[in-house]
């Protein structure tokens, strides 16, 4: 299985766990898309890029430490992004705002850890 297929598998499981999540994408912080589920996940990609570029540094709060995740909830939809620890990559999600945010938070972080395991190459 290729890296991309393995990540896609993680995303598929995440989507199945989170009722209401419509699109999930894994992106590098420069906006490069690594993997999406389903394949057409425009909203997840667009909002994740916006969240990173629009909020990223400006919303940083040194007193609270580095930003690890962000959720925006609107009337109908939500957009979220989570940083993959020690990597310049994020998981972006888009879906119905009725989603359980507690579950979204824990399941997304767990998915981030699994994606990190797939992508992380230890330095020799």
């Amino acid at each position: 299985m290729s890296e991309c297929e393995r990540i896609r598998d993680v995303l598929e499981h995440l989507a199945a766990d989170l009722n209401g999540t419509e699109e999930i994408a894994v992106l590098r912080e420069d906006g490069t898309v690594l993997c999406c589920f389903p394949e057409k996940s425009e909203n997840a990609v667009i909002f994740t890029v916006d969240l990173l570029s629009g909020i990223g540094e400006e919303m940083a709060c040194p007193e609270m430490g580095d930003m690890t995740g962000l959720i925006l909830k609107g009337k109908e939809h939500f957009a979220a992004c989570y940083r993959i620890p020690d990597m310049d990559a994020v998981v972006g999600l888009y879906g119905k705002s009725a989603v359980n945010f507690g579950l979204l938070n824990s399941a997304s972080r767990s998915a981030c850890s699994r994606i990190r395991e797939i992508l992380y190459v230890p330095e020799e």
């Binding site: 916006d50 629009g54 919303m59 040194p62 930003m67 995740g69 925006l72 609107g74 507690g102």
Partner: protein, 388 residues
């Protein structure tokens, strides 16, 4: 250099026009010793050798160096009274702008009345005199110089560092930028800063003109902002000391006549603030992980805050969130913003818009996320009722 007589005021006049110094000497009579300096360099040298009470600089001679001269002189002599002399027909600041500035402006050729009314009055106004130069004065001086330049303004406070740029062109401000803000928004933001450093780059012009209002309009708007904030602060003090008993009477029958009593609108605003403060305190008592909480209106003006001394980072985040969602239109307007959660290494920052009138920002240390979010949502709902 003549020796200075301690019993009279000493006035250092920076001007290449001999008759300006003659006029000063004539009008000052026995109360001022006038010391002329033809250039800014000479003036700085004289300032380093002896203390002065009044520093008068001719804007036409000093140009933009007047800012450096005034800043350095103020640093050396905090009680120095600064006077800028300029041609009266080249856009002298007037009215409110003149009153708001900590510099006295006189038009050339000035008269005995100018000296009597403005310079002497400025000298008597100890509070105005001893205040350091503000960003307002610096911007005013740079614009009066009528030179094209770019000014980089940096503010470094305990918790954060901000910087912004202002472009001056032909006596006006043509462009401003700070963080994600551009144009007038950036200008007003920069003008709120205190303890700033600035660096100028001569001859630079803005690529795009994003400010079209005149210098006077912009500065008057800054004064309005500042007055509003001062009123707000005064109201808060008033609330603590005197207003609470009056608020308990719903029909206002106890409202006594007299100028110091607040209007009905002010009372309503105070009642709102009291109600919101109470909810924030209840929120604090209901959880042991609350770092801070603030409620602002949609313009970012703080309506209530739990710990004012540490509210600045949270306030900044609220402002940025407002900007991100409403001004930059990155989040669809049709969706509206119901909640924003920012997860950080040491805790969570939650933002809840409350009706269309305000936003509640809460910083919590790591805790039961579901529970704390529920508590905050309830608090936001209560605040929403008050604001409605």
């Amino acid at each position: 250099m003549e020796t200075k007589n301690d019993s009279v005021l000493s006035l250092l006049a920076v001007s290449s026009e001999p008759h300006l110094c003659s006029a000063l000497t004539a009008y000052a009579k026995n109360e001022c010793s006038v010391f002329p300096a033809e250039t800014v360099l000479k003036a700085l040298d004289m300032l380093s050798q002896a203390p002065f009470d009044i520093l008068l600089a001719d804007l036409e001679d000093c140009k933009r160096d007047i800012v450096k001269l005034f800043v350095m002189a103020k640093k050396k002599e905090p009680g120095l009274h600064l006077v800028a002399a300029m041609d009266a027909d080249t856009g002298m600041p007037e009215g409110k702008i003149m009153e708001h500035s900590r510099i006295t402006f006189i038009g050339k050729p000035f008269t005995a009345d100018d000296f009597g009314q403005k310079i002497r009055a400025g000298m008597r106004d100890a509070e105005r005199r001893t205040h350091p130069l503000s960003i307002f004065d610096v911007v005013l001086l740079y614009s009066l110089c009528r030179e094209n330049l770019m000014l980089t303004v940096t503010r470094q406070c305990r918790t954060e560092k901000n910087s912004g740029t202002l472009y001056f062109e032909n006596g006006g401000i043509s462009s401003a930028g700070s963080g994600s803000l551009l144009g007038e928004d950036a200008f007003y933001e920069i003008m709120r800063w205190t303890d700033v450093r600035f660096a100028e780059r001569r001859g630079e012009t803005a690529k795009f003109r994003d400010i079209t209002r005149t210098r006077e309009d912009l500065l008057l708007e800054v004064i309005r902002h500042s007055d509003r904030e001062l009123r707000m602060m005064a109201t808060q003090e008033f609330r603590v000391d005197e207003v609470t008993p009056v608020l308990s009477v719903s029909d206002g029958s106890e409202k006594e006549s007299g100028d110091q009593n607040p209007s009905e609108a002010e009372l309503t605003a105070l009642a709102c603030r009291l109600g919101i403060s109470k909810i924030l305190k209840e929120l604090r008592d209901g959880t042991d992980s609350l770092e801070n909480a603030i409620v602002t209106d949609t313009e970012g003006m703080i309506l209530a805050e739990l710990y004012p001394e540490s509210a600045q980072p949270l306030h900044r985040i609220v402002m940025n969130a407002l900007d991100f969602c409403y001004k930059q239109s990155l989040w669809p307007e049709s969706e509206g913003l119901e909640e924003m959660l920012l997860f950080c290494q040491k805790g969570i920052i939650m933002l809840f818009p409350v009706s269309d009138k305000g936003i509640m920002g809460i910083a919590v240390r790591h805790h039961n996320f579901g529970l704390i979010r529920q508590i905050c949502e309830n608090a936001a709902a209560q605040i929403e009722k008050i604001l409605r």
